[in-house]
């Protein structure tokens, strides 16, 4: 009898986690999905109204602002972070032997909360007392840098803060990838007379493709989930000009008593994340099987 119990032990141990996961991840997703098809406002009301909430969502100008912002933010954030991360990794890889200190400096922003990041940059970009004043004091009295309070430019401040926070991580990924490149490949290129630039362009970077993909996936994941940073840096403002889907969902589900609409926006966010993650995971796991 005890032997039977012992054999079932692995399953028993995993059972709580499996159940919790079933309920708190997949079950909850289903609940939110169901809610998005109801009329719910302040409290869940199980009166089904089909796609009405989604129609309302995509007719909502504020949601469109959030989506546009997401696009702008994601593209810029990923492009700049990739560029910076790659550049720093390449510079570190070739030039410094003891890069521990520098790596620590580039990476430490990842250790702090997005709230701290937002708070710090909110001060740095403060119109009147921040960078604007600093540059003016340096002798450029007409310099203006008020992005934080300009509706068209507010989203770019979020890009700046996010890049500061996450580019170190991209650098770490690329550095690990660069260090993993087979030395003999580089030596062969040198024997063939390739210049440093060509060696990188034709030989090293192609080998780093999986790292690129990994970084893009992770960065876009961070971008879609961005909530903390927006709350602390701009609060979604001025007005709702720097809103992102995550802040939209929060405001409507909790402050504005629009649960159904909030749920619909959450489901759209999920769809966006899945569109990126699922193909990536599929190709990764399939590659591992062989």
């Amino acid at each position: 009898m005890f032997d039977y119990l012992e054999r079932q032990l692995p399953k028993l141990i995993m059972a709580p986690t499996a159940i919790v996961m079933l309920v708190c991840m997949y079950g909850f997703i289903g609940w939110t999905a169901a809610l998005s098809f109801t009329k719910s406002r302040m409290l869940p009301q199980w009166e089904f109204v089909g796609w009405e909430q989604y129609e309302r969502l995509f007719a909502n100008p504020r949601w469109h602002v959030a989506l546009d912002n997401l696009l702008v933010f994601t593209v810029l954030f990923i492009a700049i972070a990739l560029f910076l991360g790659l550049m720093l990794a390449i510079l570190l890889d070739r030039n410094i032997r003891n890069d521990g200190a520098l790596r620590t400096i580039y990476l430490y922003p990842m250790a702090v909360s997005f709230i701290v990041t937002g708070t710090a940059w909110k001060w740095i970009l403060n119109p009147g007392l921040g960078i604007e004043k600093m540059v003016r004091d340096l002798g450029f009295p007409d310099f203006e840098f008020r992005w934080l309070v300009e509706p068209d430019m507010a989203i770019y401040t979020i890009v700046i803060a996010a890049v500061w926070q996450s580019s170190g991580f991209v650098m770490a990924m690329f550095l690990a990838g660069l260090r993993g490149v087979d030395d003999s490949l580089i030596k062969a290129a040198q024997m063939d007379g390739a210049s440093t630039f060509r060696t990188y362009w034709h030989i090293i970077l192609p080998v780093m493709r999986p790292v690129f993909f990994g970084a893009v996936v992770i960065l876009s994941h961070i971008a879609i989930k961005s909530f903390d940073l927006v709350q602390s840096l701009t609060g979604g403002g001025p007005g709702y000009s720097s809103d992102l889907p995550a802040t939209f969902m929060y405001t409507h589900a909790f402050s504005r008593a629009q649960m159904g609409l909030g749920a619909a926006s959450a489901m759209v966010m999920l769809a966006g994340v899945m569109a990126i993650i699922v193909p990536y995971l599929y190709s990764e796991l399939r590659g591992k099987k062989s």
């Binding site: 995993m14 809610l35 620590t104 990476l107 740095i124 903390d228 589900a253």
Partner: protein, 288 residues
């Protein structure tokens, strides 16, 4: 053989300078936070953000810690600092322990559906939490844990276990299966093998898991802001409230001091055990 020509030396010097300039840029915000926190209000208004403080005025710090207003209350960040501690420590201990056992099962005791379970867990690491915010609120209310510290601990454990399981499972698959077979022949059962064979080998991954969880939970804002109430908020929520509450003139030095206080624990952890932190990031992320 002399390999460095003058142009090579010059370009190397250029690149190093570039790296240093970037280093300064990355350190910039930290520098600004610290210097601003030690300045007086007048000094802030009249000076510029890059200037060093004239005198080291610590009043902003004591205000941030014990008397600044975070929304309705004016107790400073101190109570919320301890809230975060009371949330983080149990949550990371429980999620690490559960993750270790789960990783042990998934890596060494395959059963029908264990791979599927692992895939489902892995996928769960990526979902945007917006999709579970509302139903989780209902669950917490139903359990009577709404707006409580234990409630937040529960939430962080539930969603942290996916990550910790991933860490431990990826680590434990590296332990040779013959070791488990030898232990079984020696008469060790499921728990005995875990205790005598796996646990002694787990120090590196436990460190990674603890550091990762500490950072994630301490820095969390979303769960904090949704599932806490007045008095039970974590420090990130309190900081945000402090900065966005303007009673009278804005006190930037207090804001900055508060931000540094909120950032200190994870920064200290990072500086002390940074390489394990990096290992955790790249191991969890790159290997998927």
């Amino acid at each position: 053989m002399n390999t460095s020509t003058l142009s090579q030396k010059l370009s190397k010097a250029f690149f190093i300078t570039l790296l240093l300039v970037f280093a300064l840029a990355y350190l910039g915000p930290l520098y600004v936070m610290l210097t601003t926190s030690f300045k007086g209000i007048e000094e802030i208004r009249n000076g510029n953000i890059l200037a060093l403080p004239e005198t080291l005025n610590g009043s902003a710090w004591s205000k941030a810690w014990s008397s600044a207003c975070t929304g309705g209350d004016c107790y400073g960040l101190a109570p919320y600092f301890w809230n975060s501690m009371r949330i983080v420590i149990p949550a990371l201990l429980i999620s690490t322990a559960v993750g270790a056992l789960n990783g042990y099962v998934l890596s060494q005791w395959r059963f029908k559906g264990s791979n599927f379970l692992f895939g489902a867990l892995l996928f769960g690491c990526f979902i945007p939490f917006q999709v579970i915010l509302l139903p989780m609120a209902k669950l917490l209310a139903w359990l009577g844990l709404a707006n409580t510290v234990p409630g937040l601990v529960l939430v962080h454990v539930i969603y942290g276990v996916a990550f910790t399981t991933l860490f431990f499972r990826n680590y434990y698959v590296g332990i040779p299966a013959e070791l488990v077979r030898a232990a079984r022949l020696d008469g060790a059962g499921f728990f005995a093998i875990f205790r005598h064979v796996f646990l002694p080998l787990s120090t590196p991954i436990v460190v990674v898991s603890v550091i990762w969880q500490f950072t994630q939970i301490w820095n969390d804002f979303l769960f904090g802001v949704v599932y806490s109430g007045p008095g039970t908020q974590p420090i990130t929520v309190a900081l945000n409230n402090l900065v966005n509450t303007t009673m009278g003139g804005k006190e930037y030095n207090v804001d900055m001091a508060a931000a540094v206080i909120a950032a200190l624990p994870t920064l200290v952890v990072y500086i002390v055990a940074g390489k394990y932190f990096v290992r955790g990031l790249t191991a969890g992320a790159v290997k998927g």
